[in-house]
Structure formats: C-alpha cells, structure tokens
C-alpha cells in the first residue's frame, strides 16, 4: 500500500470524528477509580475514571491531552467497555493489543464497532503507544500489572 493510502487508513473519518467529538470526556466525581497514565516519550497523558459495580464497568470517562490517535482511542475504549464485565474488558484489551501489533485476533465475541477503524495504526510503529495508552490505563484501573515499561503511571 502506498504511504498516502496508509495515511488515509490511519486517519479514517470515524477516528477523526471521535477526535473532534470525543465520547465520555469528563470526570466522575464520586465512587470512581482514577488512573493517570502518560507516555513520557511524547507527553500524551490521560486520566481515566471508572466506576466498577458488581464486577462490571458501570461508567467510564476520561480527560487528557494528546494526539488524534490517543484521544480517539480513549473515546472508543470508554464507549466499548461500558457495561462489560471486568474479564471481558480485559479480553477486549488483549484483542486490541494484538490488533495494534498487526497480529491475528478473534473479535467475534465483541461488537468491535468503531474500534476496528484503528487497525491502520499497526502500520505506524511510532504511533502504537498513542493508541494503547487509554487501554493500558483501563487495565491498570482494573488492578492489572502493566508490562509496558514505556508507559508511566503518575
């Protein structure tokens, strides 16, 4: 694929829409876990708020600063995990990681919806961490160890 075609894949309309009109942008004041995560190599940062009830993610919102890819990904992630049981949210995160690495993934269990638009990121190795930042924050918020040494919790 030409670099122009790759670029069009990277910045698909649905991604730009999430960037311009982010879903779930904001804070949850009461009863939420808050996770700060940043990518020290570029300065992107996200603060993710989640309310977990009865083993499910009841609410998820985020604030932060970053490029189109990181903010669109945060918007899509919060949309996708709302209402999911913790195990499913973590499974979805693994699927997303594999998608970013350009590896095979089985997304049949989930309605990936807009998330699949981010597939193009896998062609841009320098941008993968932008896309995974919010997902790593979600994993951390659910008590998972993060094995990505390039992402730092504030």
């Amino acid at each position: 694929m030409s670099s122009k075609a790759n670029l069009d894949q990277l910045y698909r309309q649905v991604i730009m829409d999430h960037y311009k009109n982010p879903r779930n942008r904001g804070e949850i004041r009461n009863g939420a876990v808050a996770v700060n995560m940043n990518n020290p190599s570029c300065g992107d940062r996200i603060q993710l708020h989640m309310v977990v009830k009865d083993g499910k993610i009841d609410q998820a919102k985020f604030i932060g600063e970053g490029c189109s890819i990181s903010l669109a990904s945060a918007s899509m992630m919060t949309d996708a995990v709302k209402g999911l049981p913790i195990e499913d949210a973590l499974e979805l995160s693994t699927i997303f990681s594999n998608m970013m690495l350009g590896e095979a993934y089985n997304g049949d269990k989930f309605d990936l919806g807009d998330i699949e638009a981010l597939q193009g990121v896998s062609k841009f190795p320098a941008r993968i961490k932008c896309a995974t930042l919010a997902w790593k924050a979600m994993e951390r918020g659910l008590g998972q160890e993060i094995d990505d040494e390039d992402l730092v919790e504030d």
Binding site: S3, L7, Y11, S41, C42, G43, G66, A126, R127
Partner: protein, 408 residues
C-alpha cells in the same frame, strides 16, 4: 561551501523514504554520517582493531595512536590547553553526570546553591536536581524573558556568593537561543562558582573556544556532529579535574592496586575506566577533520541563511506558531493550528520529511511555553532551501488534511 557536493558524501541520502527523497530535518536529535567517518571506523575494525594503552604489539600501537590522535584533534577543535583536559565519555549526558557526581558532590557536600535555567535539556537538569536532593543544596532557576532568552538581570540576582555551580545550555535544543556564556562565566567566577556548559547543540554548528568562553566544564556529543553514537567529551580545567574523584573504577584508570588501597592514573585516564570507546573516538576524530575541512564558520553561515529562510517561509503559513527568539541557531520549533505535533510529524513522514515531535527532553520548558508538545525542524550542513520548501509544502498538506476535521 557546496552543499550538493557535501550531500554526496552522506550515503543516507541515496534512498527514498515512503516513496519520496529523504528530507532530514532532525539533526538536533542526531546527525548523519559522511563517508570519511564511516570508512575510518570501518578501517579500524578491519585493519587495526586492538585494545589501547597496552603498548607491546603493533596493532595495539596503531589503535592507541588512533585513539590518542582523536583526543589531540578534540583539544584543538575546542581550543583546550592540554589533552589532559579532554575526557572521552559516552556522550553529553554521561559527561554532565560525571561533573555532577564527582565535582558536584564535593563542593555541595554542605549545601550551597546550584543555578541552572528552565531551558535545560533533561540531561543538564536532572543530574543537578538529584545532586541538590542528595546534598541539601538549593536548586535555582534563572528566569526566561518572554522571547525565550535568559533574563540576565535575574541571573545577577540568582547567582550569589552561596552559588557553587552554574550550569547552562549553550544553545537551546527547543528555542534555538544562544546563551551569553562569557557573561555567565564572569558572573559565576565573581561569586566563586564554576560554570558548566552543555555544548551538545553548539559544538556541531559553531567554532568553540573553551578558553575564550572561560567555562570550567564543557560537555558535548559526537553523534550530533557527524561522528558515531556512543562517544562524547567532557572538557574540564585541569586544576578542577585533578581535584575530582573518578566515578567508575576498574581497568585502564589505575596506577597501582593493592588489596586495600589503589591509586589512579594521571589525567585524563583516571576518568576512563574500562576499555574505552576506541572506534567512537576514532570516528569523532574523522568527523572533526571533515568539519574542519568545510569550516565551522561556513557551516554556521549556511545554517544562519537556512534558518532565516525557514522563518520567512513558515510565517507564510496561517496558524503556525514559532517558539523562541528571532536571533537563533539552526532550528525552528513550532505548532500548527490545534493539530497535535505527532499528527504533523506522521503526515510529514508520509512525504519523506523527518521532523521531531514531542517534548524534546525539556518538559519544564514545555510547561513554560504552556504546550504539551511541539514539532521541531533542525538543520545542518547538508540541508538546502529546497528541504525547507518541501517542509512548507508538507505543512500546507497537513493543514488541508486536518483542516476539515478541526474546522468541521
């Protein structure tokens, strides 16, 4: 200075990146390497690879001559008095850490003040911040003026008889500001302090005379001046280096070793524990020859023209904001509209144009500028006005690409 002839000596330009000729505008991060440097390093490994300072066999002698010959070239290049004042390090970062750990630890043992600036690269900020934490010394910052130059009135207030160390970047890697080193040296010395200079962004681009600058320490990296990565230099005045303790102990740096005591070699070897960076030093020597042949004055003049042209052309782009003073070294840091610099850099990359995007290892300066990140185009002897034209075209395309998104 014939730029086209110079470019032919850099094999990296014989390729296309993403289907376009490479436009490399990231030399402030690292420079490319010309054939004479690559060949000199190659030649060392092919013909006389050996350890240095072991004396007896023939190849060892060649290697020692190459390594010490490079030290002599560095001495001449920055006009130090003696090769004893030239310590090879891994780069600017390790040179500055050596000063902070060894000299800094000594003079700040009972507190005192360390004075730096908010425009420091992390490599000239964290070593002092951590030294202050270890010793209880006070870390002070000289204010910046709105245009990104140092407020020298504030420097006169901040540097006091309590000050032990003043450490300042010669040329800012973000703003391009060229700091008044001689004046800072006078201020530091009048108060009994030493002046440390981070020369990573100046040494590749302008003639350096450490005696004229009258700095006490001066650090720079080879890889930003056409030499390989992994080699750098710490210059220090002999009387200061002599009173300093080594930081790394081991082979190469000792005189005699007893079971419970050891003594160190003379300068500069006591700071070069372990097998040194032989190929890197030889490559640095070759890079110095290469740059000298073209002439640092000619390089500086070429970059002055480029940066003026870049500022003119970039000003044509609506919504483009340039940071830093008008009078600057060969780099331009900017943002375009509300487009995140990562997105700018990705679109430019698809056109074969390499720029840096991010915080440039200067997070406190980003906060001072009130931005999270910026894009930066930096120039060197192989760049042309055509490179800048392509950058401008690429930025116009970037604006078109994102324009419909941001404006809706």
């Amino acid at each position: 200075m014939n730029v086209q002839e110079i470019r032919q000596q850099f094999p990296i330009f014989d390729q296309e990146v993403n289907g376009h000729p490479l436009v490399y505008l990231d030399s402030a991060a690292t420079s490319h390497k010309p054939v004479p440097v690559i060949e000199k390093v190659n030649d060392y490994y092919r013909r006389y690879n050996s350890n240095v300072h072991r004396g007896v066999h023939t190849l060892g002698n060649y290697a020692t001559e190459g390594y010490e010959g490079a030290r002599a070239k560095v001495r001449q290049f920055i006009h130090a008095r003696s090769t004893k004042e030239i310590v090879f390090t891994r780069g600017t970062t390790s040179a500055l850490n050596l000063v902070a750990h060894s000299y800094g630890q000594q003079v700040c043992a009972e507190g005192g003040e360390i004075v730096i600036t908010p425009m420091e690269h992390h490599s000239n900020l964290i070593p002092w911040q951590q030294l202050a934490k270890r010793t209880g010394a006070t870390l002070k910052y000289i204010d910046l003026k709105d245009d990104g130059t140092l407020d020298m009135d504030d420097a006169r207030r901040k540097i006091t008889p309590e000050t032990k160390i003043v450490s300042v970047v010669h040329v800012s890697n973000v703003l391009g500001t060229v700091n008044p080193i001689k004046e800072l040296a006078r201020l530091a010395h009048n108060n009994g302090a030493v002046l440390v200079v981070d020369g990573a962004q100046s040494t590749p681009h302008m003639a350096i005379d450490v005696q004229d600058l009258d700095c006490d320490f001066f650090a720079f990296s080879g890889h930003k001046m056409c030499a390989p990565t992994g080699i750098g230099v710490l210059y220090g005045k002999k009387e200061l280096l002599e009173q300093m303790e080594p930081m790394e102990f081991g082979g190469e740096m000792i005189d005699t070793v007893e079971l419970h005591e050891s003594t160190w070699k003379e300068l500069p070897y006591k700071f070069e524990g372990g097998t040194p960076i032989i190929a890197g030093a030889i490559g640095l020597g070759a890079a110095i020859d290469f740059l000298n042949e073209i002439g640092l004055e000619a390089i500086a003049e070429h970059e002055r023209r480029l940066v003026q042209y870049a500022l003119e052309r970039l000003n044509e782009i609506e919504g483009l904001n340039v940071y830093g003073p008008q009078e600057r070294s060969g780099l331009v840091t900017f943002n375009v509209d509300d487009i995140h610099p990562h997105d700018v850099a990705t679109v430019l990359d698809s056109e074969g144009i390499a720029v840096r995007a991010g915080h440039h290892c200067a997070q406190p300066l980003m906060r001072w500028l009130d931005v999270t990140a910026t894009a930066r185009a930096s120039f060197y002897l192989y760049n042309t006005e055509e490179d800048i034209d392509k950058l401008v075209d690429g930025l116009v395309k970037t604006k078109e690409f994102f324009g419909h998104v941001i404006e809706g």
